[in-house]
Amino acid sequence: MEAQKYVWEGAIPLQIHLNESEVTTLPPPPPALILAPRIGYLPLLIPLIKPHFAATLPPGVDTVWFDYKGLPLKWYIPTGVLFDLLCAEPERPWNLTVHFRGYPNNLLIPCEGEDSVKWSFINSLKEADYIISGNCKNVMHMSQFDQLELWHSVMNGNLEAYLRTSSKLKFGIVEDEYTLKIDLCSQKSRKTTGEVGMGGQMKTGKIPVRLYIWSVSEDFEDFEDMPKIDSWDKISYINQPIEIHREEGKCFTLHDALKSLMPEFLVDKSLIDEESFRLEGEDEQVILSEDLSSNRMAAEGREISCQSVESTCTSGAAEIKLVRIQGIEPKLEIPFSWVVNNLKNPEHFLHICVCLKFPQVNSLDR
């Protein structure tokens, strides 16, 4: 699959600066320039970064972490997703700060290098397996050797090795008439990389998805003008599988998929002009807050942070301003099956970054 190759070859150019307070030499060391694989994780880059700064570090034990404009970066989120999420306007190179001391344990879960990342990866893979097949047998039945091979293929960005090893997982791909139409060139490769066995075919199965949402309350000319994300509280993270609904003659699009995850927040664009208070779906669990500094809406136990400067926000009339998957902004009409098969990460989760715009309303008639 061509697209999968591009995804695996995708990388973010990083310019990594050492945290000022850890610079003990003059002149300070220049930043390290590293090309970080999109599907990789920041802690895996430490062996490449450390040599640049080793000579200047103060004495002590290394506890490495990264920040972007002051925001500590969650190391278990793939590098490409972090970039798509935190840089509305892609910054190249991406300027990050590395710290070797003072791990913010109150903000980040601990990381002990490669082992922690591998543990996180394998468990995400098991979680995906559970979502897709209802249990973790596929991963559990993989030999330790194969599991290691799989992990190494991800660490090294070796797609060939990955496809070889992951075919033993029998997860299969999403199959519908749109997969076949669009992926005509991959028909050949599908025959050679092994059969998608009975147990592996996902017909109307659930798709593991990690959805990251941030919201704005006005339109911006440039992404550069968007308020920056300075706290993880400003991002709503939803871990919820998407079920592909098949309807005769109708394509289940990316837009359909997103609507299924956020029914209470998304309205068809055509309805926005008519009435800004109309809600989709029957659940109207809307709780309005009048906190001016950070407005929140709660629905079904989940809160979506709304960055509004002045007025309070209402729900139900959100507009999708941006959808980013693997650095791509796909058209919402794209068949969701194609997105899943080509843009998912190696642990079989599809990571989607979404920016929603909630309109500002001055008067509330609730």
């Binding site: 559970y130 979502i131 973790c136 871990n239 709780i287 929140r296 136990g301």
Partner: protein, 96 residues
Amino acid sequence: MASVTESPSSVRKVIVQLKATADAPILKQNKFKIPGTDKFAKVIDFLRRQLHRETVFVYINSAFSPNPDELVIDLFNNFGVDGKLLVNYACSMAWG
């Protein structure tokens, strides 16, 4: 189903059932409610305190270890069984 006038503090709660695995001690109270908006880390910290151990291995449905940053409500929605979130705990790695 919350009504519009309900205060934000009445967030949906999730029932968590703790189950000891292998050599782990069985807790007197092994079932409790936690707000859905809490992170799974809260369950892990609770276990650490109750078991007086720094390292605890925690699994959902004896299957996998979720990321501590995951929201309890998401884990319940995705993996809950019989209205509960089943959490297995061990003092050594049970399912590697």
